[in-house]
Symmetry: C3
Subunit: 309 residues, 3 copies
């Protein structure tokens, strides 16, 4: 449902199972683990990438999919059925639901009516837990742990649900002796919300804030980049103030650590993340796509009980 709901133990369990799922996600092996199971993807907002990831995960584990990815324009919604009713009805058809919605809290609303597990594929600016988990999986594959690392969060830290999900998950890995440090890099006005900073601190993480990426990039073990999205601003003018605030280029990457991990949820649209960086071995954003399939395989296997939670 939400990144905040995961305990440390649960996160570790997801990453453990995701690791086992990798050969299937990487198309190296086929699996019939979820044979006979059906997933419904209910997308009230388009997101081909996230939908394909869930559907691929189910299909490559031997399951099947029914899908509505244009739900806004379709009947039950036009007739304004409650999301609870939709949840209850769709539960009669399938074994698990993946849902995306532009309004925060919508997934929880549908889950209230549902009698099968519901996975949050992003709801509004609030949350995007599976993206957060795949980010952690990508980091964990590189370092084997989370503690003691320095995380650079770069971009629109105010509005990015991806960053918020990362924080909600990473905060658990604070108190293990090695306290992770966050360096928040955002233009003035797009800083990380105070509530999330408070939570991180309470869990023993240290936080530094700056608007200058160049000065701090050399300290980072992880650079989590998120673009500044036009749709999060009320007016185009408001957006233009921040456009181009950061640019991840080859030149900048030269100042980074040799083992740094560069993650980004994609898509990229505005040149903040240069294509010249794609071939840099530290750039993991395309590998993240495959990691996302592995994580969603793990989540479905866990909620469907084929693996103990």
């Amino acid at each position: 449902m939400s990144a905040a709901q995961f305990s440390k133990r649960e996160i570790e369990r997801v990453l453990e199972v995701a690791k086992q799922m990798e050969p299937f996600a990487r198309k190296e092996k086929t699996s019939d683990l979820l044979k006979g199971k059906v997933l419904a993807t209910l997308f009230f907002e388009p997101s081909t990438r996230t939908r394909f990831s869930f559907e691929t995960a189910m299909l490559r584990l031997g399951g099947k999919v029914i899908s509505n990815y244009m739900m806004m324009e379709t009947s039950s919604v036009k007739k304004r059925e409650t999301l609870q009713d939709t949840g209850r009805v769709v539960s009669a058809f399938v074994d698990v639901i993946a849902m995306r919605h532009p309004v925060a809290g919508s997934v929880a609303e549908l889950a209230q009516g549902a009698t099968v597990p519901v996975l949050n594929a992003g709801d509004g600016p609030a949350d995007h837990p599976t993206q957060g988990l795949l980010d952690l999986f990508t980091i964990h594959k590189e370092f084997g742990h989370f503690g003691g690392l320095t995380y650079g969060l770069v971009g629109d830290l105010k509005n990015s649900r991806v960053v918020h999900a990362q924080c909600e998950l990473l905060k658990h890995f604070g108190p293990t002796g090695f306290k992770p440090a966050f360096i928040c890099v955002a233009p003035r006005g797009l800083e990380l919300p105070a509530m999330i900073k408070k939570e991180l601190k309470e869990m023993g993480c240290s936080i530094r804030e700056t608007d200058n990426l160049e000065k701090v990039i050399g300290e980072l073990d992880v650079l989590s980049n998120t673009r500044i999205q036009e749709e999060r601003f009320a007016t185009k003018k408001e957006f233009e103030k921040f456009r181009g605030a950061y640019s991840i280029s080859q030149k900048l990457m030269k100042k980074a650590k040799k083992k740094m991990v560069l993650i980004d949820p994609l898509p990229r649209v505005d040149g903040q993340l240069k294509t010249e960086v794609d071939s840099d071995p530290r750039a993991k954003y395309f590998e993240q796509v495959t990691n996302g399939v592995a994580v969603r395989m793990a989540l479905m296997a866990l909620v469907l009980g084929t693996h103990e939670a």
Copy 2:
């Protein structure tokens, strides 16, 4: 194609096979009965519920699905190919077609060109035979028979294709000694069409008409509720005259028989069917969703010849 086309024997056969399909529809068992078969869902009007029901039925019997649920906006239609041509072409791809269309007669038109079986998933205000069959299945599961029951049809009896389909099917169960009685409850102006009343009478069913549900609910074995749909009226003002004419509440249910069956095609949007009634054991509308999958499994198995008709 149409509810009117079913003989009594055929209805009984569908219900018999649907009964065998229940364990698969209820996700208790998996089946490979339709392995190798492909269903096309062609929806010229959105209906997630009905489409998901057909697709789930095919997938859970081991078959596969190709789908176009936004046909109005898509190519062959833009180019105004005839439905006969569409039927013939799609027949080359699949083994069975489920089609929904806003215009009455469209499904028959496509079926004319088709060389594979075509199932009517609703065409215009005219017909919705699979919904009618699943309603009968729900009733039959409860009582084991149809004769001698008193049916209360409640709501917009003039425009509801669901009610019309129910009548077309139930009329056959009149002459078996126990004549079913219909009590038609509709606001003035939304009464059951004269032609359907005539048919029911000719088959030996008795009919009573009233606009007062409270007075008659105590006599009913089946309460078939259908909402008064805004889209069936020319103007919003016209609709407002009838809005809220009936309300199925806990208070009202207290006056009903203990073994009454309350069915409704869903979605509910206007409070005619109160959520407080959901937990009443007589409320069968969510169970109907699963029954719908079983009935569509039965229909596909029958038309594809894996069960004798």
Copy 3:
């Protein structure tokens, strides 16, 4: 990618494998040849027929499908991700991509980023190689060879990508002793582009041009009909000049050879191809639909390495 890219040997290999695929395309046998493989259909322009053909081909060979057939209106595109990025991301999910796009060159652009095979399902007025291949397959099934035949290309030869694809493929079958002859039948202004004529001549094919179909139909072994499409013209008025220029009727067919093959890519929308001709054994346009599935099965089997190229 493009019809122009095929060598004679490659075309022959596709037709050979398509021949082996026929029992599966005709639903006479089932196959698990592509079990474990996943196809993505990415349609930036609606074409139910072509999409269904690819999806059916994959499903009937035991594979699975993920699909986005409304890509124009969906997220990654709204955010203007490059097609290269889309290609790279979707490659992480699937084993093969079939793509359609209204703009020429788009498929090549996506393929640049892709790390899995990409099949062109039509891009703009430029190309539609799988349609061309299925046309050749239809002809080959009838005559067993291409050399020595007289091809009549009829309709909008200027804008039809189908005709252009046919020419690019058929030109290879010129120099084998029996030189194929092309009779181009188009209204003035819609003639075959000079470049294509030049290519055909260079490959040893002879070309004749006329605007009178009736006069030449008796000479043809193959009549490749393509409708004059309104959407190819800037104004409705421009289109009206050409509308109804040709009409394939029973009367006209009486003047044709007894063994002539009449092909057409469908859909038909304007009466150029009369329904009265459908029952003529020389009319192969509905059989072409099944041939299209066989050809796409062959292409997927070849690019996925289950058959040697």
